[in-house]
């Protein structure tokens, strides 16, 4: 007896913060994967440090994705099991950046291939985006076209990242949680009933 999850649900990558040791390996892997696949070579997940812990933050591939709704050119659009990203169509209007509730779409530009920043212009790379470079929307595309799925999941040394597809969600996430929740409620109700009984017993 298990939940039937719509197979058309989007897949996504998520991190278990209790396992993440904030080593940034996922970001390196992401950068490398994007570069190899000919995309803008920028990490699409960013490790965020907070008071209570750290973990990488990346696109959730929302079912009703605000970024895909606002995109005027179809650069970000609803695809099969994911929110697709077509960087070449992006005009850099940054609507998706503002619409994303998680801060997971970033306007990024790749350094110009014709300029060797390391030796020729060691100063100007400090200024966020140098002139002549076009910023486009960059977000997690689940390493589309990469054999073996998302590179971050593969690279994580502590197995903190998981690639969740609808099947996996059904088995591990939803099932386990719902059982726990029901158990919690049942025990809570039992406690309450028994305490009420005691109270009423005393009262009489």
């Amino acid at each position: 007896m298990s939940f039937v999850v719509d197979e058309k649900l989007n897949s996504f990558v998520i991190c278990d913060p209790s396992k993440c040791m904030a080593c940034y390996t996922c970001m390196s892997a992401c950068y490398q994967s994007a570069k190899e696949r000919g995309k803008v070579a920028k990490p699409r997940l960013v490790v965020i440090h907070t008071e209570s812990g750290s973990m990488p933050n990346q696109c959730r591939h929302c079912e009703d994705a605000p970024c895909a709704h606002v995109c005027p050119t179809g650069a970000i659009k609803f695809g099969e099991n994911k929110i697709e990203l077509h960087e070449e169509l992006c005009i850099g209007c940054k609507m998706c950046v503002m619409a994303c509730p998680f801060g997971c779409v970033l306007p990024e530009a790749e350094p110009m291939p014709s300029v060797n920043y390391m030796f020729e212009e060691p100063v100007d790379k400090f200024v966020a985006v140098a002139t002549g470079e076009k910023s486009v929307a960059v977000k997690c595309d689940l390493c589309e076209g990469r054999e073996g799925g998302p590179a971050c999941v593969e690279a994580c040394p502590n197995k903190a990242l998981t690639f969740i597809t609808s099947g996996k969600m059904e088995n591990s996430t939803i099932d386990g949680k719902s059982r726990e929740a029901v158990l919690d409620i049942v025990s809570m109700v039992k406690d309450k009933l028994s305490s009420q009984k005691k109270d009423s017993g005393k009262g009489v």
Partner: protein, 601 residues
């Protein structure tokens, strides 16, 4: 390390990590720690920054930089007053327990809490967890050593392990996490100014004679000059020729401007490295060396494990292995005994000279056993993963020495306090004690304390990692150069993440971007020395070295911060290009420039 890395995940019940951002700077060690924790081990972290290890810790003591002695002493205070120490081990295997007891009696958790702002209950909790979960391992890194009382800090950690009997057993011990793949090996074969290749002090005549017999030459009895006092010695003419091997002192020395200034006084300087470093640019001659993958030999890792390295590539161009270059120079100078065939020839000589450590490690054994832990004196010896097994120590009496270490906030009081302690405890003249203090304090002029460290992406001064194109153009999120500031301090100065700031003191100034994070307490900031664009070592203090090992106080520097515009930022950046990426040798103290930018001109 007194123990082997692999023991952490198997035996350890409690980890005490002091002054180490393990998950960023020693990820492999951190993985072993996490595996241990999955099996139920407890984790205590003492650090000025709320690192990822601190987030996962059972107890986190956020100590201000430089206050390790009071905190460690108060842990011992709790352990002794609550009778949690290992009486049998203290009785049979240590000397000086009464001295230590007397010295730490002042450091009650309440008093230390008032001094450091750490909750006294947390100190008590940490002490109990450490004492009650044996075997307990202490892991430390530069957050213990890089102080004017670094040696005192190290003594404190071994005192703590000593009174709880956490020495000589698997999964326990005092474990300094080494920063380089072979720094342990370099120290063991005498790449130190005070130590012979046999690992014994140069002042020991018998040890000198042993080496002289093998090498058939005289060996000077005077210890050499420590790296950190080079600038003075270059300025006063003691050193006129400098040969830098695989080191980048132009960036890594404290007050690096002073070092660059001192280079002027040299007659000749040679830099030997795999890439053209900042030091190499300022040298008269650069010798190209082969990388680790282009030569054969051994590395000794942090667990004293000797591991073989095989050659994978041919060295490009004229590059040669370091030993080849040294042997060629020595032969040109007319010296005998440098006619080595290959690296294994040298390894055999090391085994003869330092028989006690490496005697039983021939290449075949190293290959078959996949590395061996030193000491391994003969061919039947299985190696020594755990030092001081059975509570036997290398001191003359065979017992661990517990050394009283105290702390004062007033730097001028140090000698006086040490003398007072000696008198109070009625100590022998040569029984070591140490009173620690800090060289720099906050003042109205410099209201922030800067502490320094490393980030995961870059390695030290970036001589290798800064050459990695993918790190430079995107993967390194912290680059180039940021300074971490706490929320409250940033709010006071009106700084948000990404703002340009100037960090300065009397020694120099750097321009960086701010990164506002609540990982560090107010009035403290954190910076790294990876990037020449903004190298915190331009500001660090070269004075007041540790009296024993001459390490400078990298971790505590008084500085001030101000917000600057992008224009000023770029101006300073161009100055740094000239300073570090050219053969130009700075003439020190460009005070006019400093003032101009300081006034926001």
């Amino acid at each position: 390390m007194t123990n082997d890395l692999a023991e952490f995940s198997q035996f350890t019940k409690c980890f005490l990590i002091v002054g180490s951002n393990t998950s960023e700077n020693h990820p492999i060690v951190a993985m072993h720690v996490f595996r241990g924790m999955e099996k139920g081990a407890k984790l205590i972290v003492i650090d000025p920054r709320k690192t990822e290890m601190a987030n996962k810790a059972d107890v986190f003591l956020q100590v201000p930089p430089g206050y390790n002695i009071p905190v460690l002493n108060s842990l011992m205070n709790v352990i002794i007053t609550e009778n949690l120490y290992n009486k049998e081990f203290v009785e049979n295997n240590t000397v000086g327990f009464n001295y230590l007891k007397e010295a730490v009696s002042d450091y009650t958790p309440e008093k230390v809490s008032a001094m450091t702002g750490i909750d006294a209950e947390l100190i008590k909790k940490a002490a109990k967890i450490y004492a009650e979960n044996s075997p307990a391992a202490i892991l430390y890194a530069m957050g213990i050593t890089q102080f004017s009382h670094g040696t005192g800090n190290v003594w404190s950690t071994s005192n703590l392990a000593g009174i709880t009997g956490n020495l000589g057993i698997e999964g326990a011990g005092v474990n300094p996490l080494r920063g380089q793949n072979n720094v342990q090996g370099a120290c063991m074969v005498g790449a130190l100014p005070t130590v012979l290749a046999s690992g014994k002090p140069v002042t020991d005549e018998a040890a000198r004679n042993d080496c002289a017999e093998i090498w058939k030459c005289d060996i000077p009895s005077k210890p050499g000059i420590a790296l950190t006092v080079l600038p003075e010695n270059m300025e006063n003419g003691n050193i006129r020729f400098l040969w830098v091997l695989g080191e980048n002192p132009v960036m890594s020395d404290p007050d690096s401007n002073h070092f660059v200034h001192a280079i002027e006084h040299l007659d000749f300087m040679v830099s030997q490295d795999i890439f053209l470093t900042e030091t190499g640019r300022k040298s008269d001659m650069v010798l190209p060396a082969a990388t680790f993958a282009e030569k054969e030999g051994t590395f000794v890792n942090t667990s004293r494990r000797v591991q073989l390295v095989n050659k994978a590539l041919d060295a490009p161009g004229d590059a040669k292995a370091d030993w080849e270059i040294i042997a060629m120079v020595a032969q040109k100078l007319g010296s005998d005994g440098f006619n080595y065939r290959d690296a294994w020839n040298i390894w055999d000589e090391i085994r003869t000279v330092n028989r006690a450590q490496f005697g039983g490690m021939d290449i075949r054994r190293l290959k078959d056993m996949n590395g061996l832990n030193a000491p391994c004196p003969n061919h039947q010896h299985p190696g020594t993963p755990v030092l001081h097994g059975g509570g036997k120590f290398t001191t003359p009496g065979g017992k661990a020495l517990l050394i009283p270490v105290v702390f004062t906030e007033n730097n001028t009081e140090k000698a006086e306090l040490e003398e007072k302690l000696r008198k109070k405890l009625d100590l022998d003249k040569d029984y070591p004690v140490m009173a620690g203090s800090l060289n720099e304090k906050v003042s109205d002029k410099f209201p922030f304390i800067m502490t320094t460290g490393r980030y995961v992406y870059q390695y030290h001064t970036g001589t290798m990692t800064r050459k990695c194109r993918s790190l430079e153009t995107g993967a390194d999120m912290f680059g180039p150069a940021v300074i971490e500031i706490g929320f409250a301090s940033a709010k006071k100065l009106g700084i948000v993440t990404g703002d340009y700031i100037r960090v300065y003191n009397d020694r120099g100034y750097i321009a960086v971007r701010a990164r506002v994070m609540n990982r560090i307490k107010d009035n403290y900031i954190f910076g790294s020395f990876h990037y020449w664009e903004a190298n915190v070592n331009e500001l660090t203090n070269p004075e007041g070295l540790d009296p024993v090992c001459k390490i400078p106080e990298y971790k505590v520097t008084a500085v001030n911060i101000e917000k600057i515009s992008e224009k000023e930022f770029l101006k300073i950046q161009r100055e740094k290009v000239e300073q570090f990426q050219s053969d130009y040798i700075s003439h020190g103290g460009e005070s006019e420039d400093v003032n101009l930018i300081g006034k926001g001109a």
